[in-house]
Symmetry: C2
Subunit: 307 residues, 2 copies
């Protein structure tokens, strides 16, 4: 089986924790044990992707605080940096777990670029909040220095950037070659580095791509059998948060009808990614709790979505 | 031919330039055109590595300046970040050049870890200067906060970290698979993320690995035919900087005898890497100017080293 696993932010940090290296390495142990249980079967090819919200936020802050002395990097380069920092942490912890369990498989991170359309309407309507919260006075000062879009959140202000739809991932041939070699591949963290085609070249853009959307794109591109989107919730609920209302199995068509009722920033993009993955050829998708990866993939936990 | 190209710092920045994104993208054009001329021949497999001195220095500064508000990342994670930031820049510029020239090849960066021995004597004798220059008073203040080794440079003080010898690169199987798929691979920037084996696991360490040494290690591991170390000097000189004294061809044994006369921080590690590469099975190595890559590989410029 070819499996794509999308790790939620809780794989790296629990609610309220600071994104220190030590905290993240310690949290990753849990995800690594779960993934190792799946990787133990050598016929399972594994492609892992992950979020980067808190980590890219911290990079943005470092760039802001140091900007008087060190030139700021563009936002898409900060995505690249978090693909590497998180990729390295997952590689270390997962390789260690493999060695403990006697699993002879390599783990590697390939840096990826997600191609978006320069005409994507998202570029005219930025929606994704990034970076620090500003007071009204701080916002005014920032806007004198450089132009940006912002939203109000709980009386504070925050910069927003576009969240365009990814059309392709440039590194798919490398990912395919690595999966075929038996390597557990880590790719497209934080949705990947957003680039647009400009003349003959690709150019990084100031945007953030939805990571579940890129997970789906990669899953279809590598012809994965299944995709598991892992989070801190046990699955989809018909009446959240009633435990007994958890949906064990739902068809793609039923889930599609349910989409408008799901919360926009959290469950809806995950459910949309599952629907799209199956419509484009995937056999099954799962949404479930990170701590139950192997049970989820055996259809014994979480929500299973099929055609 | 399987070719390893080690790009010197001048591929990204010229003497005295600030490491901004714009400067680096603009400088990379030159290296990209040179590399594209080699990649045009589809039987040439290409593995590219590069320095990261100024870039990792800036990351360290961002971490230092922001440390009151954002937790600092360990040094080896900063190496990871620069592998990605520089890898993404090279990928964009080189892919663009390929498209312009009608070369249908993929370019991808794989994040790499260099395994070092925890007993390496370098850990007891740190020698590699990193990060900001401190005055005597600043140094005293820093040393109250945390312990580190330092050296004096022109009346100022600088932190030094160990520069251990890399024993292996964890991601060689992925690099091999990608090269076989025809991808131009970028790997091990700044010498790679230094890790030591600790129990069953790998652990990042506070060190900086010589990039030419890692280039040689990868070149032998992927069984490269040739390795080209590119810099801003036209080659090895018998009487530097007399133009006419440039050495066009030298044997591994002759070069080995010449090593003690070469400058420690610059030409000597490059020459050592060439000697070691050939001793361990490589056919030829080159040291030369970045602006002459294709001429160098045709033995029409630079210094050729053979058995």
């Amino acid at each position: 089986m070819k499996i794509v696993i999308a790790l939620g932010g809780n794989a790296l940090l629990r609610e309220g924790e600071e994104p220190t290296y030590a905290n993240q390495m310690s949290n990753l142990g849990r995800a690594a044990r779960q993934i190792a249980a799946v990787a133990r079967n050598p016929s399972n090819m594994l492609l892992i992707t992950h979020g980067n919200g808190p980590q890219v936020g911290e990079e943005l802050l470092r760039n802001e605080y140091a900007r008087a002395k060190v030139p700021m990097l563009p936002m898409h380069i900060l995505n690249a940096e978090t693909q590497a920092s998180i990729g390295s942490m997952i590689t270390s912890v997962l390789s260690g777990e493999f060695r403990k369990m006697g699993i002879r498989r390599n783990v590697a991170t390939v840096l990826t670029h997600s191609v978006v359309d320069a005409a994507d309407p998202a570029f005219r309507h930025p929606t994704k909040p990034v970076g620090p919260f500003y007071t009204r006075a701080q916002l005014a000062a920032e806007l004198k220095r450089r132009h940006f879009s912002y939203v109000e959140e709980r009386g504070m202000f925050r910069r927003v950037v576009p969240s365009p739809v990814p059309a392709s991932v440039l590194e798919i041939p490398s990912i395919t070659a690595m999966l075929s070699a038996g390597t557990v591949v880590i790719a497209s963290g934080g949705g990947g580095i957003p680039v647009i085609a400009k003349g003959a070249s690709y150019q990084g853009v100031n945007a953030v791509i939805d990571k579940d959307r890129t997970a789906q794109l990669m899953a279809n591109a590598v012809k994965a059998d299944t995709m598991a989107i892992l989070t801190d919730v046990d699955g989809l609920y018909s009446e959240y948060p009633k435990r007994k209302s958890i949906i064990k199995h739902i068809s793609m068509a039923e889930l599609e009808r349910m989409l408008p009722s799901l919360e926009e920033g959290t469950m809806r993009p995950k459910a949309e990614a599952c629907v799209r993955f199956i419509r484009r050829g995937g056999s099954s998708a799962f949404i479930g709790n990170l701590s139950q990866v192997s049970r989820i993939l055996a259809s014994r936990a979480g929500t299973l979505i099929t055609r």
